[in-house]
Symmetry: C2
Subunit: 509 residues, 2 copies
Amino acid sequence: MANFLSDNSLLSELYSIDREGYALGGALALMHWDQEVYMPPKGIELRAASIASLSGVVHDYSTNPRIRELIHKLEAEIKRAPDKFTNIDRAYIRQARRDFELSTKLPRKFVQQFSETVSRATQSWQSAKEEDNFDIFRPDLEKILDLSLEKAEYIGYKNSPYDALLDLHEVGATEKWIDDVFREVKDKTVSLLRRIEQKGVIMNDRILFGDFDLENQSIFARELVEWLGYDLSAGRIDLSSHPFTIDFGGPQDVRITTRVRRDQVNYALMSTIHETGHAVYEQRVNPEFTGSSLSSGVSLGIHESQSRFFENQVGRSLPFWRHWYSRLQGHYPDQLPPDGLREFYTAINLVRPSLIRTEADELTYNLHIILRFEIEKGLVSKKYQVRDLPEIWREKMREYIGIVPETNREGVLQDVHWSHGSFGYFPTYTLGNLYSAQFAHKMSEALDWQGEIEKGDFSAVRSWLSENIHQYGKVYWPDELTIKVTGETLNPKHFVDYLEDKYSEIYQL
Amino acid sequence: MANFLSDNSLLSELYSIDREGYALGGALALMHWDQEVYMPPKGIELRAASIASLSGVVHDYSTNPRIRELIHKLEAEIKRAPDKFTNIDRAYIRQARRDFELSTKLPRKFVQQFSETVSRATQSWQSAKEEDNFDIFRPDLEKILDLSLEKAEYIGYKNSPYDALLDLHEVGATEKWIDDVFREVKDKTVSLLRRIEQKGVIMNDRILFGDFDLENQSIFARELVEWLGYDLSAGRIDLSSHPFTIDFGGPQDVRITTRVRRDQVNYALMSTIHETGHAVYEQRVNPEFTGSSLSSGVSLGIHESQSRFFENQVGRSLPFWRHWYSRLQGHYPDQLPPDGLREFYTAINLVRPSLIRTEADELTYNLHIILRFEIEKGLVSKKYQVRDLPEIWREKMREYIGIVPETNREGVLQDVHWSHGSFGYFPTYTLGNLYSAQFAHKMSEALDWQGEIEKGDFSAVRSWLSENIHQYGKVYWPDELTIKVTGETLNPKHFVDYLEDKYSEIYQL
């Protein structure tokens, strides 16, 4: 019997089915990890077959009809004897119901087909990007879009098929809700951008470029991620074309990947800090939940709130660099000036329209997301065709960001996510920004957290996050968690205020 | 339908069950690979649970009662209409029968228990070795021995439980047969060693030691393994404490690991060449067999014949180094003299009693194996107790090799194999030496293969091996293959002659 559940034979049986499925899911996750970081290119067909077979087996476990019976019986028993169940028990049963329903709505054959397509598409996307040839990826992307629409039909929705895909990544999210929330962010971003332009302060980021040997980058990154709370004896850092974090069913093995450039000191660094935010969240989920439906972060938006908080509110803050700049400078005395703190800080916060989302500044970043959100809406509603995406991408870049990519590699092919079949995923990045500002605002009431960071101590921040957010895994759903932590539902005001404060200071608005 | 099988609905059904099991087995293999090379230490419990669950699922696939029905029906149809079946069909059905029988003899629960124990034992062996403390490993080794004896009972045997374990790794091998074969090798080895001692030629291997930077070692190794025929776009090289080769159900992804030392130029090199022999075998199995019972090399002895051939008959030969020495010297001009070929050649063939099997010279190597063979026999017959192994090891080392390890790390804990539960495995190393000499003798009749190597061309050797051995996978069992290739069953004379020729020249006997 799991320690976190009450002593009840039905709960115990549910947990033992669950745990077996998670153990197999761990093998599946490892195949995905390996495919991104170490698999030799000729292994792809064999891997696709293994992933498809195991996806089928995992699907069988997660759709075991006994789960439905157990959930029904448990729900009846909760009604009959509510005192016998804790809040954790209830959360566990609720999550089991959600997982079971999502699994049973998708036929086994469909799941196999989807995962086999995705496995191939990940390779064709990589080739397409390398060769800057959208047509290599196009047929797989069309297939993935068709399958995603089929998926939405299986899952069901009220207004738009896109709602079904959004809910997969963020419980309860709808196209309309995101439209409303994003409008506020977009308006504020555009107005701030205009004020920055009008102010005409000239800044540059030359300090970030030079020759930064990789070994020192790696040493510095490891020191930093451990300071941030990432336990490397329960994790590791590898390279992949798109950085990601992955776990295998519990906090004991949570891996991140990053990418690296010798000529730019913040390139690997910022994405490493970002993934560390995800990894620390996973590593701090209550270990008793291991192998159960409650293990792992609750939603992509909340997950992104942690990675964004680490990357932006911490990693792009002045207090953080007041502590870390001299250490980084010590690794690169020939590249960075000893008195370069302010120049470094403004460089990593430079607002400048750019082509690549993952390298965008905090302000324009959300415009990259809104662009993808609108393309996804358009594809799902069939307003757009896959074959027209390169052109649509260029048009929207011109409209929102004001610059146009010369290659598809820097345009529509830049992100891996569609090759993973993850429609409805991108919006969670901006949701994460909003959640993170709201959580940080709340943390300020309890703690002078920026002061702590400036003193070189991250432990109080780590504890606050663990206690208030990380430990719960999937016990509280996003809305509940937000209310529990901050006393209100998601409110874009906190993020908008944060942007206003930060950029007013940097650009002397 | 698989291309390599005749058009027959029973065969087709058998193949489709088979293929699904192999696809899942690929996931299992990846978890083992990862555990040895990249898994963070805290991940072990989670991994053990995943391996146990998936082992159970794979076991279910491979014991599907429908397989028995299909085999029975196919065997009946072969009797009725023999002309409708090719030799490949028959070999496929025979192998399916062997695999099915081995799987069904072991209960699902036993398989799970075994693989969970092994997964933990691999970690405890590693700790025990690091800390030079046999007691850390002892309880797991005792458990593994008990489980191995239980396994032998499930499998069944005529004379000794050890026969059952030997047959697992080498079809048809028995304790008595190996006793006989090894006696001839032992007698010859001891007599050659005596003659070398009496001759009193003084040689040394100082040339191998110095400061060999790792990047150049890696560059040289990659050039060399590709020359040997290892396709790195269908494989990769990583580091692990014990080098190994692993595949995932087909020739498209076959990985090797090696280990490395900066102060000794041949340390990584020889084990890399050895593993490359295994990997090239796997990569050259007929790709049509992918995901079937015929894919992969036929037995450990035949597998070892390939790795030994690469390592010793090629990698420790004068023709090979006539081609490669100047290249290696070019990487290390400050460490190796331009005219050092002969000194290098004798250094890597120096006969010197040593503690570590994997670093032993070709001549004393087999004494290390005979020692392990006798310990395994003794453990299985309960003549020996696990707790006495450190002392038994030291006694046998004194008797056979003439030196005694001061630590268990260099003694009983040096090899990973027992932690993998692989009793009956070690003898296949010496069997491999014998097979390799017999195959090489035959190759000489068709081809001046040493002349080709000296000219820097390995393609004719690769082709001969592919055509005569590699392509067949498990179509011919070891005895059949040996007869098909050489016209006789295993004959230790070829190996004994090879040793005589090689060491007579080096030591001017």
